[in-house]
């Protein structure tokens, strides 16, 4: 484990509670009021932590045979859905831990789950197919087979879903089933994010590049030069800054003005090993990042994507995920040993 020492210029963070789950904590999410933090691990357990104290309110060990893979929280109802290697989607009441729904997709991993912003549709990827359900768990739509396994999902609008796989990003109207747009590019797309207005689509590719498209104009660009594959991408809430991993430095592209084509990106250097997590705060240009070496950093960025460190901490193992509390005043990071660490953040 490398050492990570960093002066905290403003010291915006203060340690909160910490807890543990049984194995590598693969996903986590806060309820909208910050009352509960739900964490799932690769042993298949799902845990509900008291948001204020860190006390374990409920735990379902081995809920997903083979391990959990994904989690999504409904932004309206706070229902938490988890997907696993068992091909199931389980939906939990975060307050009580009661299992409210089970959807069994049979074979194949449920690697991606995401709720639409209006909380009406849950999209799940299962091998080459994508299924969309309503809040009752009733299937709204199921895609045909994609050309290869779906690697990422994102909602562009309340009823339009984007899917990424090898060679393409496709947009579907989930009520009519129509393909509304298809963006093709020959490469294995490993990650995808959309800007807030849904116009910019950014994908990380296996061959160490970031590719992006503007849907309105159809223009696309490629950013090369990453030392490893950019599996982690994040847009800020306004959709003007795109933070990208793919190495130990974080590269931030600014979409203001004519950018980012022809501009120099902001480069954020603090992590000593490759970045494994990037999440913008719900508001403002505050970015949280985690890395293989267990370091967690919080950055304040300017319009151009340059920034300074405003908080840092060190976990015991690889940072598996970071989740901002919806009010932006708290942060949780999960690590490969099952550690769950929280901080309070002053704005």
């Amino acid at each position: 484990m490398s050492t990570f020492t960093m002066k905290q210029r403003k010291g915006v963070t203060a340690s909160g509670w910490s807890g543990t789950v049984d194995d590598y904590a693969i996903a986590g999410a806060w309820t909208s009021n910050g009352g509960v933090l739900v964490v799932a691990d690769v042993a298949g357990g799902v845990f509900g932590f008291e948001g204020k104290s860190g006390k374990i309110r409920w735990a379902h060990r081995g809920a997903h045979g083979g391990g959990a893979l994904s989690m999504a929280i409904n932004p309206i109802t706070d229902q938490v859905s988890t997907g696993g290697q068992d091909g199931r989607i389980l939906t939990w009441n975060p307050e009580t831990g009661a299992l409210s729904q089970t959807i069994d997709l049979g074979k194949g991993w449920v690697e991606n789950l995401t709720w639409s912003a209006d909380g009406k549709c849950l999209a799940a990827s299962n091998s080459r197919r994508v299924h969309v359900y309503d809040v009752e768990g009733k299937e709204v739509w199921c895609s045909d087979d994609h050309p290869s396994t779906v690697s990422a999902l994102a909602w562009s609008q309340s009823q339009e879903l984007a899917t990424a796989c090898y060679g393409q990003v496709a947009f579907f109207d989930v009520f009519s089933g129509d393909v509304t747009q298809k963006l093709e590019w020959k490469g294995s797309l490993v990650s995808m994010v959309l800007s807030y207005d849904g116009d910019i689509v950014a994908c990380g590719s296996q061959d160490n590049t970031v590719h992006f498209w503007r849907r309105s104009t159809g223009d696309d660009s490629m950013m090369a030069g990453y030392p490893s594959k950019p599996s982690y991408l994040a847009f800020d809430a306004k959709g003007s800054l795109l933070a990208t991993g793919g190495g130990q430095a974080i590269t931030v592209w600014s979409f203001q003005g004519d950018g980012p084509e022809g501009t120099r990106p902001g480069v954020l250097e603090a992590h000593l090993e490759p970045v494994t997590s990037l999440v913008f705060a719900p508001k403002g240009r505050i970015l949280a990042s985690g890395a293989r070496d267990g370091s967690v950093a919080i950055w304040e960025l300017d319009n151009a994507g340059n920034g300074g460190l405003i908080g840092a901490s060190q976990l015991d193992d690889l940072v598996a995920g970071i989740s901002w509390r919806p009010d932006g005043r708290g942060l949780a990071a999960f690590d490969a040993r099952g550690g769950v660490t929280t901080w309070r953040v002053r704005s």
Binding site: G108, E111, S127, R128, S148, K186, S205, T209
Partner: protein
């Protein structure tokens, strides 16, 4: 992280009906106390409790670096990436490919993705062969040929359905295609598990011990005898033997150590490239020329040659001395002069398969820069046809022996144990389709530092 800490992965290939599932079940049901994860592509048949069986779609994609042979398995990157997150990690991973799969993309995945490379090592490729049907398959499909060429271990299965003679002939043909491979025969895939797992496949030391001659290049002659001779006229006598003619070249200033013999052999190859001149019994043979001795007459036949200055000569003969009871005699005393040393060579075979393999073995140090330039260019131009490469290198300035292995255009060299007292030597094996053996040999020679 070194190889010892990485999780070893075995790739199991073979045509449908070759016995992959039987072997897989056998491995999984044996008591070995290991946690094994199986990634399979043909749904369903395996069902053993203690192992995790994951079904993955075989998703092969090209890397967008413009090289059409840089294909990897996207599904493996995802599945393995997830497996390595568990605290109780697996001791072993088995990847079963579909019958028609080219093993290249699976193998390349372990070179191309940094995260996979950091956690897993390709332990070996095991190919099952249906002894009764492989001959037909080899004629019809590139994939079966590639599966043979990629194999570290070939399990020649269903041997009960084929005669011993046909099996020997088949094994000979398969070995020509892939000299590196270990061939194991079985009736119902009932091979000991340790012949297919934990191969440490790239441990050439062990391969050399098993079959010390496999690295030997093949020559158009079988035998060399070194004789210390004073100036004078000598007789070469031969009795009846297996052939009506025999090629021979005489080299002067021949040393007796192995390096000198190899150098002589390389020289002789160049002479043999010229057409032979025929000589009838009783002729005087020229020195340093490719000759063909005419041995059609029955009984003892004599040829002569002359030595100007005292020293050693090397006789490079198409057959061993024993086969013709070949002797060198002093013409004045009529005394036989025994050879100071002899050496046999691996005789050249006729290759009828497009896919073949050869080895290069040279003492001395390689200039890393020249080697890198040469190999990069070779792989850029011929990577598609080079299925696998493996071997040891003695890089100048390095205390450790380097182990290198490659798949198509990708290669990787890692320091291994220190050379210590042992002779610094380079040993490389190339397996591929229509390889330009001469060109590759010459290219490698040019990377050696002169001593």
């Amino acid at each position: 992280m070194n190889n010892q800490q990485k999780v070893p992965v075995t790739i199991l290939t073979g045509f449908l009906g070759s016995g992959k599932t039987t072997l897989l079940n056998r491995i999984l049901s044996e008591e070995h106390g290991k946690r094994i994860a199986v990634i399979e592509n043909e749904y369903g048949e395996v069902g053993i409790d203690q192992a995790l069986v994951i079904n993955a779609d075989e998703e092969i994609f090209e890397m967008s670096n413009g090289c059409i042979c840089c294909t990897v398995r996207g599904d493996l990157i995802r599945v393995l990436g997830n497996l390595m997150k568990r605290r109780d990690k697996f001791d072993y991973v088995l990847v079963e490919t579909t019958g028609l799969a080219d093993p290249g993309p699976v193998a390349q995945t372990f070179f191309m993705d940094d995260e996979i490379r950091a956690e897993f090592s390709l332990d070996g490729i095991v190919t099952l062969v249906d002894a009764a049907h492989i001959e037909q398959q080899l004629g019809r499909s590139d994939e079966s040929t590639e599966q043979i060429a990629f194999a570290d271990v070939l399990v020649l299965n269903k041997t009960d359905l084929v005669s011993d003679d046909s099996l020997d002939a088949l094994e000979g043909r398969l070995r020509e295609m892939n000299k590196m491979t270990r061939v194991v025969r079985s009736e119902n895939a009932n091979v000991p598990v340790d012949t297919v797992l934990n191969l440490n496949a790239f441990d050439l030391d062990e391969v050399l011990e098993r079959r010390p001659s496999f690295l030997e290049p093949e020559y158009p002659f079988e035998w060399t005898g070194v004789y210390a001779l004073e100036p004078g006229r000598y007789e070469l006598s031969l009795d009846d033997g297996p052939d009506p003619t025999m090629s021979l070249a005489i080299m002067t200033n021949q040393g007796s150590d192995d390096t000198a013999l190899r150098d002589g052999a390389e020289w002789c190859v160049r002479q043999y490239a010229e057409d032979a001149e025929n000589f009838a019994a009783g002729s005087t043979l020229p020195i340093g020329k490719h000759t063909s001795l005419q041995l059609q007459d029955a009984g003892r036949k004599s040829f002569f040659f002359e030595v100007d200055t005292a020293g050693k000569i090397g006789l490079y003969a198409q057959h061993t001395a024993e086969e013709f009871n070949m002797k060198v005699l002093n013409t004045e005393s009529n005394q036989e002069i025994p050879f100071e040393c002899e050496r046999t060579w691996v005789a050249q075979h006729e290759h009828d398969d497009e896919v073949g393999s050869f080895a290069i073995e040279r003492d001395g140090d390689v200039d890393p820069q020249r080697f890198n330039d040469w190999l990069s260019r070779l792989l850029r131009e011929n990577g598609i046809d080079i299925f696998r490469m493996k071997g040891f290198l003695s890089l100048s300035g390095q205390m450790e022996r380097y182990v290198f292995q490659g798949v198509h255009m990708l290669f990787d060299a890692q320091p291994d144990k220190p050379w210590g007292e042992s002779t610094r030597r380079n040993q490389l094996v190339f397996i591929g389709r229509n390889l330009d053996e001469e060109g590759i040999r010459t290219g490698f020679e040019s990377c050696l530092l002169s001593q």
